[in-house]
């Protein structure tokens, strides 16, 4: 498999995915959308990690392990984030990130 698809191709896909996530995080007003964008960024990195592991250093499991860590951390972050969005919705009656702007200056 490593011969059929060059590493560069995988990296480009991951990079593209990262940029899509970045764009999503920057352009969405909905806080859930922003969080989804961030999740996409993290998953793009997972593709990178696994690809590097598979193509470059298959003897050591660093890349794989790290991908697992990232997934776990992303899950924790999503849990806290979603809880927070619910809390904000309860008191602000909105999930629009731009409406939550009382702190500034």
């Amino acid at each position: 498999m490593t011969n059929a698809i060059p590493l560069e191709a995988v990296l480009v896909v991951a990079g593209a995915l990262f940029c899509i996530g970045l764009f999503g995080a920057l352009s969405r007003r909905n806080m859930v959308g922003i969080l989804m964008g961030v999740e996409l960024m993290l998953n793009a990195v997972n593709i990178n990690l696994v690809a590097f592991w598979r193509y470059l250093e298959p003897r050591f499991i660093t890349g794989q392990t790290f991908a697992l860590f990232v997934i776990a951390v992303a899950a924790a972050e999503a849990a806290v984030g979603l809880a927070m969005i619910i809390a904000i919705y309860r008191s602000w009656q909105t999930v629009n990130a731009d409406s939550v702007d009382s702190l500034r200056g």
Partner: protein, 651 residues
Amino acid sequence: MAYLNWLIWLIPLLPLLGFLLNVFVVRRERPAGLLASGMVLGAFVVAVVAVIGLAGLPAESRRIMSTGWQWISTGAFQVPFGIMLDPLTAVMVLLVTGVGALIHIYSIGYMHGDPRVVRYFAYLNLFITMMLFLVMGNNLLILFLGWEGVGLCSFLLIGYWFERRSAAEAAVKAFVVNRIGDAAFILAMLAIFASFGTLNFYDVEIGGVIQPGFLERIPEILGRTVGPSWQPIAVATGISFLLLIGATGKSAQFPLFVWLPDAMAGPTPVSALIHAATMVTAGVYMMARTESLFQESLATQSWVLWIGALTALIAGTAAVAQWDIKRVLAYSTVSQLGFMVAACGMGAYVAAIFHLLTHGLFKALLFLGSGSVIHGTHDTQDMRRMGGLRTAMPTTFWTYLVGAAALAGIVPLAGFWSKDEILAHALSHGNWPQLIILFLTSLLTAFYMGRQVALVFYGEQRDHSYHAHESGRVMTVPLLILAVGAALGGLMNLPFSIPGGHWLSDWLNPVLHEEPGEFNLALALLATAGAVGMGYLGWWVYTRNAARVKVGGKDPAYRYTGDIWDGMEEAWYLDAAYNRFVVAPFRALGGFLARVFDPQGIDGLVMGIGRFFTWVGGGVRGLQSGYVRTYALVFTVGVLLVLGFVLIFTR
């Protein structure tokens, strides 16, 4: 003389104790004043004992070093928390504690009934402590501790009557202007440490190890340069120039003198202590202490000389045209400091210190006298509302007359001898332009003092809304003591080869390595004649024309000089120029941007330069829109910049 090692610690620690007690324990006016005065008086007594002990040593070993503990100790970087007593420090300590004690006692009367007087005495004691650390520190870091400390106390004391808006503004102005000098001072310290690896003035032996002192290692940096190859700067020039900027801030020299006249918003004893006798002399002391460094840079020395001479003239002319009794003295202080700085620039450090000492005496006398006048006329400061006070306040009048004559340089009072020594040095070093400038300034000095004496004490009282009265004994006794000092201070350093004649020169010789100056009879006669003549002229003009002086009116001399007089009154518009070219543009931009970015209302204290930075800060805060997506966008831009730099420009 082992006892001196611990005795000298008492000198700064007694006022510190007074400060702590006044902050944390004392709550009532009377004990506060007595405690504060007693502590400073105690410090003075200790200082006298210590100096007598010092004088008992042979001349070349008159340097007591005492280290409290090793302040900083990290490998090569060693700074002891140490103080010292050598001839130069000794005279400064005596001046600070002696004049300080008198001013403390005077304050008991002057500040009587003030609601926050305990705090006043606490600040005053802290100030004395800091000033003592400044002059006693055996390294630059302690000197800087005192340097910042006196700046801070001065800030607190100028703004002491903070209900008056001008006082609060003057306090901030003083602090901001001083801060410019302080920044240069810090840079000078960094440069000295980088060049010499030490901040000690002299070699200190601690625990058998000798820590080097940079003043004894000046030859190491000779010939070394910094800066770009097309414009190399000698290290000695760089360091001494930074120190000079520091001194111009603290000693109120051109172009940073603008804070001192405004500082008169503080209580009058504060003006006497801080803005005449002690704090402002810190710059001169510092230049005298690091004299061997300054001497290695001709470039800096000529800057010092010119700055001093120009300051003397500018401030001298400004003093002529003031109406406020204290502002006359304030500009006069700036002018006399210019004399001292110019003396430093000529390499006549003994003359500078001599003038510093005599000036400390008679200027303190004049300020306290003016305070007595202000006190006796119920807070009148405008000389147009005074007149004829010599009958109502005889003690104040006679002592004031002594001070004024001493400042004007009338023989044989203190000011004559010290000023003459500076002029004689200018002559013997062939500094003709500066000699002429300084000579003219000394004529102006006599003139404005004659004018002031005439306006305040002669003629008829022009404003009868108050009943003038003499001040109490607690205020007049310090005046009398200072008057004796102002009259006899010249005995310290008579330019004659009689026993004890060059006492100050001989005493300072181990530190400043300077031979006594020559006495030039012709110059002395000329200066005396000029001083007497101009002093009389000033007195005569303003007693003859006393009837023309009206409250809120123009000066009689205005007829002859016209707009020039206005220029003098405004100190040649330096303040206005700062306002116009520095403050106003920033303020305009700030106002514009304040509307755009809507800050939460800017504090009234924010002025001038502060406004400018506030404006830039407003830009920072404008970006702080509250939208999280904006933040993310800024973040992304930052990412692009960093990655772009790393990947493209470092290729």
